[in-house]
Symmetry: C2
Subunit: 355 residues, 2 copies
């Protein structure tokens, strides 16, 4: 029987609540199905750790992570630490260095949620692929003459042909694996003439290896219009770190599923463990109230199961979660009145029925 070692990094805010919920549900699934074993190891990184140790992660954190088959991550960020310190202390300190270059976000109208768009007559079903290791989030740039009237600051987006090529290949493969075999490449090469033009060139290059994939290009501004006006014209979408950060939030909102949106930070070469996380943040306003929506983390855990090789178990988990949402057992953010506990119990009860 396959046995998996999973790192659990709950982090801050509601992170621990939703990660704990997901672990309960996955443990229940493993026990019920009896077809695989899974063990979660708690890594206490986050703002509390930072306050005690002066850094968000332990020494050698990346090597620690490399001992696992995958990781599940909650959220990072706290009201009393500047966001750029917490995010670069933990989340962005894993994505780049572990070369988790593909951030994948499935977005679809989910049971219990409803698209706010009246243009989305057939529902939304998109697969968003975000470059996750360079570009606008390369961490480059600086400030000169800080505080002076003539202060100047840069944010440098760094792109490499290798970086673009590998995400583009991944996106074409993703598109190819879906029924519509359709990819839209997002850039802003009309106004930005260097890295963005390189994106265009590499896209055309890689496309020639995938003659069965229908692809087109969109400028990021016009893309928002298309997502709103013609949602059904889109399937797989790929773009830069910043562009897809923005478009993936928009996508989840348009599908009505921002509270349930999952994301995968993948190293498609499988040299490093991939990380799975809900798209939502640490949500300090509801932390500790027991009403955090665990569905995004369940969905992220299901994506993890697929990634490590348990496709069947993953599909079953999603079926159970969708059944629960369909019956209206929803947390307040989705208009329901259930607690995190209620949702966990209901999903576990669904899993029990799989026996």
């Amino acid at each position: 029987m396959p046995a998996y070692q999973i790192a659990s990094i709950p982090g801050d805010g509601i992170g621990p609540e939703v990660v704990d919920a997901a672990i309960q549900v996955v443990n229940k699934l493993a026990k019920t199905l009896g077809t695989f074993q899974i063990e979660f190891t708690h890594l206490p990184w986050g703002t509390a750790y930072y306050k005690e140790h002066g850094q968000y992660m332990s020494e050698g954190a990346l090597d620690t992570l490399r001992q696992f088959d995958a990781g599940i991550f909650g959220s990072v960020g706290a009201p009393d630490v500047p966001d750029h310190i917490s995010l670069w202390g933990l989340l962005l300190a894993m994505r780049g260095p572990l070369q988790l270059y593909a951030n994948v976000r499935p977005v679809r109208t989910f049971p219990g949620t409803k698209s706010p768009l009246n243009t989305a007559t057939q529902g939304i079903d998109w697969m968003l692929v975000r470059e996750n290791s360079e570009g606008e989030y390369a961490g480059q740039g600086g400030r000169s003459h800080v505080g002076q009237e003539w202060e100047a600051a840069t944010e440098v987006a760094m792109f490499t042909r290798v970086g673009i090529k590998r995400i583009m290949r991944f996106a074409f493969e993703t598109a190819q694996s879906r029924p519509r075999k359709q990819l839209t490449v997002v850039t802003k090469s009309n106004a930005m003439r260097n890295g963005m033009v390189l994106w265009d060139e590499v896209a055309a290059d890689v496309a020639s290896d995938f003659p069965d994939v229908q692809w087109d290009k969109m400028l990021v501004d016009a893309m928002t219009v298309r997502m709103v006006m013609k949602p059904e014209s889109l399937d797989t979408i790929v773009g830069t770190n910043l562009h897809m950060d923005v478009l993936s939030d928009l996508a989840a909102a348009l599908a009505g599923s921002i509270g349930v949106a999952p994301s995968s930070n993948l190293d498609p070469t499988r040299k490093n463990p991939s990380l799975f996380e809900p798209v939502h943040g640490s949500a300090f306003d509801i932390t500790g109230k027991g009403v955090a929506n665990p569905v995004a983390t369940f969905w992220s855990a299901a994506e993890m199961l697929t990634w490590i090789g348990e496709k069947d178990a993953s599909a079953k988990l999603m079926q159970c979660v969708e059944n629960v949402c369909r019956t209206g057992i929803l947390t307040p953010d989705l208009g329901g009145s259930s607690t995190t506990r209620d949702v966990v119990d209901a999903v576990c009860a669904e899993i029990e029925k799989l026996k």
Copy 2:
């Protein structure tokens, strides 16, 4: 009687059709009201000019423009010239060098259009302010080892304290002049730690001079969610060149008014003539068919009238345009079957009634 000299730069695609329509309507207005004089001077810049002269504008174009009180611009871009050449050849070659640092885009549900959002129960009424002279569109960056496997390219967003301060002041003043006195500042300072953090600092600085304006900050990704889910919670919005490029297209789509969206490229110091342009592009697919929607250019011309001092005439023009749209005289992009000519005639007939 005041007399205004206006530069007309129709450009490419449907640009000449919509600019010509706007000139007819404004001339009719001036003649009918008899309270001001206005003269349009045609500047033949654009892709045809480029093909003949090897450059998009004439020598000394900026000085030529400086002789005018304002300019009306159609669109630039043609299928057979790379977009980054045409845009940097004309549009971006005016915005930056003329220090037209405030790009202003009113977005509201317009007669004849309908928001695709069921969350927009009270309609949408936003004022978008985009930094228009630096940031991601500063034109900086480069490519090294072009064509090699290890090619690297940068896009450098350049921010200055002066540049941020002046747009921030302008945004606070704009917010202050509107009934709700409310401003949202958009950044991405959790992931981008230099220019974006400077934005945050300058925002807080400038805010202290406007105690009567209620303001808050949003990350650009989360902002898209708020625009979709809580459109009525927003009023005036300010952000960087790229962020607001994206958000203003999204805004127009969410308001259902992408075909009618106007924009102003302002030099608030009034040292240089400001430029007024429809948000839509050159739309080569419908060029020459006589069905281009002129409403965005009418609205842009109305913004121009306000800017040069003809507030009353501007309001009257908008009233006439809205009346026409309300009666369903709409071009095909808005679901109607009218031609550009029909719309021009109908607006002129409305203006005639002002006598």
